[in-house]
């Protein structure tokens, strides 16, 4: 994982893949390979390793949670939902905030906005310092037409992680909806400046 942190992804993959193949019964060997793929967004590649890790060591909740997220991301929605429900029922939800938010995203994308909102509210109540939780809360509230509360949630997200663009993008629209053109323009300018670095690396 140190290699991956240094940006040497390929070498990290090479080493961890060999380690997992040499130790097929070792849950940690599978887990670490799965997490490498997961962290780079290669959900389909991560899934078998994470599932194997979870099966070998059921107490490894992290691998099982990430495995469920991978199922969502790769379109295996029904299996993912079942896995998520099981995970959430094992301990009082929502103590796994990433899982809860992914589940909320799934519910939102499938049109169950009310259930998505419930999950997200529970997640931010459990983790009130989680900027992505507040971003999702804002996003779902905005879709529900709750502009004022959505704005508060998005502003809270920006407060918690001013370096992240997610909630700022949402705030542009929310402010415009309320006629706050200057506030919207400020957020848009921040996003433009942030994007400039991408155009000129």
């Amino acid at each position: 994982m140190q290699l991956a942190r240094q940006g040497r992804y390929q070498e990290a993959e090479h080493v961890l893949k060999a380690f997992a193949e040499d130790n097929p019964g070792k849950p940690e060997a599978q887990a670490v390979l799965g997490k490498l793929y997961y962290n780079f967004g290669y959900y389909a590649a991560a899934l078998p390793a994470l599932q194997k890790a979870g099966a070998l060591e059921p107490s490894d909740r992290e691998s099982r949670i990430l495995g469920a997220v991978c199922l969502f991301k790769t379109g295996a929605a029904e299996i993912a939902e079942a896995a998520t429900r099981k995970l959430l029922s094992e301990t009082p939800p929502p103590n796994d905030i990433d899982l809860t938010l992914t589940y909320a995203q799934y519910l939102y994308e499938n049109g169950d906005v009310k259930a998505a909102l419930l999950q997200t509210r529970a997640a931010v109540a459990f983790a009130p310092q989680h900027p992505i939780g507040f971003f999702w809360l804002a996003r779902i509230l905005q879709a529900q037409g709750e502009t004022k509360e959505a704005t508060e949630a998005a502003e809270r997200s920006v407060q918690l992680a001013p370096q992240l663009p997610f909630a700022r993008n949402l705030l542009v629209r929310l402010y415009r909806m309320q006629g706050r053109a200057e506030d919207a323009a400020r957020q848009a300018e921040w996003l433009r400046a942030s994007e400039l670095r991408k155009a000129n690396p």
Binding site: L47, E109, V172, E195, N200
Partner: protein, 528 residues
């Protein structure tokens, strides 16, 4: 008794039969294609060095070059790398004549349109208004303008027309004609990508396994805007128009009047950074407003690897919407236009597109009403980057896909039974009715494989009607049941490609529209 029974049967069954008939032709027609190979193989010049341009070909253009009323097709093709030269006939751009039945004959040599350099995009319009459509080919440091001389031949005029800069030669991925000032003369927008030089190409991946580098490693470029001087030449007005200030990594480009002010606006899909929405302010000035108007980023706030785009009204509310293809884990974006003052909202999830496209990588794509039910459907040309195939859990070549517009804001993936054939490295797609049966077909370019002609054979589809109008013209038809349908004249569709130059409407179960309204650029709505 028998007579009575027959009458009774007729009376009772007629409404039911009518309902079934209407349902068959307007609501449940399975979109279906027959796949045919075309004798054109897209070559990207790949030779194991992983030069970035290898990923990017190639565009498809629809053109009735000989005025026989049938849509012909032109393909842009790559070149050897790093020389960027067409070192053999395998790299030739190709023009195919259509016999009006969807049978294509290669006429490249006679037409004189084989091209030079590394070609990527095709844009078609009659730029000199002599009644014959011309071809603009954008590419890597080299543009071509083929003026249609008639009699099936073209002359190359890029330098003479002012479309081939002597210095700072850009890398254009897409280009499109539109009428920016409503003067009836097609202007040209070139969507430029990154600064690229084979001698400074970074090495990515490991020595054992090289990969293509992420666009984040390259500096972006400004796109270019060329005003038509109405004398066969163009002026580069990129700077004064306000386009030069925006450095992007432009791929697809599409045009529509999104705010209803009578001026055509521009949307540029940028790779791995925010998209640009250039609001046309008139008098040759544009203002980039993508962030303010909600079309720069998806609701998640993270830029996607935007590639293809279409700018068209999918819900018939009179306001053009956007669809943008992206990479695996991105989901293809659907921006619904709400009108003033908010304009675009990300409807990807609500439309059912988020989970359905998250595992795909899309290049070309666009809205077209394949079953003529009055609702524009979606077609996407797909393929992962080679290195992502393994990581996505499957092979890099992908099948194309088609989503049916359900008429309620949602799209349903109907690809499984649509006859879209085998997977491939699909790229550009252009739409037209190539065989004159009233159904929209598609032509898709494929790297290292024959291009595909998807003949639309949807059974039970309704009829369609087409209108030839100048670029930027908006049209509204009303069906006998009161439904209003909208479309506008724009050929720039998807990725580096150009579709038929008609405004087309599916008529559902009807023979003809009840009312036809038109708004030509700079004019008011009136009956046609």
């Amino acid at each position: 008794m028998a007579e009575g029974l027959r009458i009774a049967k007729g009376k009772s069954l007629r409404p039911l039969l009518a309902l079934c008939f209407a349902a068959a032709i307007c609501c449940h027609a399975q979109i279906k294609f027959e796949e045919h190979n075309l004798p054109f193989v897209l070559k990207n010049g790949a030779s194991g060095h992983f030069y970035l341009p290898e990923l990017m070909p190639g565009g498809v253009g629809v053109i009735d070059y000989d005025g026989d009323g049938c849509m012909d097709v032109y393909f842009a093709n790559g070149a050897a790398l790093p020389s960027m030269r067409k070192t053999g006939p395998e790299f030739s751009n190709r023009l195919f004549h259509n016999d009006c039945h969807g049978h294509f004959t290669d006429v490249t040599e006679k037409a004189g349109v084989a091209g030079e350099g590394y070609s990527l995009a095709v844009a078609v319009a009659d730029y000199d208004r002599d009644g014959k459509p011309d071809i603009f080919v954008a590419g890597l440091n080299r543009n071509l303008l083929y003026r249609n001389r008639g009699h099936g031949t073209f002359e190359e005029r890029a330098v003479a027309a002012g479309l081939m800069p002597k210095e700072n030669k850009p890398w254009a991925i897409s280009a499109g004609f539109f009428d920016m000032d409503n003067d009836g003369w097609p202007d040209l927008f070139s969507s430029n990508y990154v600064q690229w030089d084979p001698s400074t190409e970074p090495a990515c991946g490991s020595p054992e396994q090289r990969f293509y580098c992420h666009p984040g490693l390259y500096k972006g470029q400004a796109s270019q805007l060329f005003r038509n001087n109405r004398d066969g030449t163009f002026s580069d007005i990129t700077e004064q128009a306000g386009i030069a200030a925006q450095i992007g990594k432009g791929m697809g480009v599409a045009f529509a009047d999104f705010n209803g002010d009578g001026l055509t606006d521009i949307f540029v899909a940028n790779d791995s950074m925010r998209n640009f929405l250039y609001e046309n302010l008139g008098k040759g000035k544009f203002r980039e407003m993508g962030l303010e108007y909600g079309a720069a980023l998806p609701d998640e706030g993270r830029a996607i690897a935007s590639m293809g785009v279409d700018f068209r009204d999918y819900d018939n509310d009179g306001k053009p919407d956007l669809v943008v293809t992206g990479m695996i884990n991105d989901s293809y974006l659907l921006f619904h236009n709400l009108g003033k003052p908010i304009f675009f909202e990300d409807k990807t999830a609500q439309a059912g597109m988020a989970s359905a496209t998250r595992s795909l990588t899309g290049w070309g794509g666009g809205f077209a009403d394949f079953d003529n039910d009055g609702w524009k459907d979606l077609f996407f040309a797909n393929a992962h980057f080679p290195q992502f195939g393994r990581l996505s859990g499957g092979a890099a070549p992908l099948k194309n896909c088609v989503f049916r517009n359900m008429g309620n804001g949602r799209f349903s993936d109907v690809s499984a039974n649509a006859g879209l054939g085998a997977a491939g490295y699909n790229r550009g797609v252009a739409f037209a009715d190539f065989d004159g049966d009233g159904l929209v077909d598609a032509v898709v370019s494929r790297i290292d494989e024959p291009a595909r002609f998807y003949k639309n054979v949807t059974s039970g589809a309704g009829k369609s009607v087409t209108y030839r109008e100048p670029l930027g013209t908006e049209m509204r038809i009303e069906l006998p049941d009161g439904r209003k349908l909208y479309n506008h004249a724009s050929t720039s569709v998807g990725y580096a490609s150009s579709s038929e130059a008609f405004i087309r409407f599916g008529l559902s179960r009807f023979e003809r529209p009840r009312v036809v309204l038109v708004r030509r650029p700079g004019e008011q709505w009136k009956k046609r």
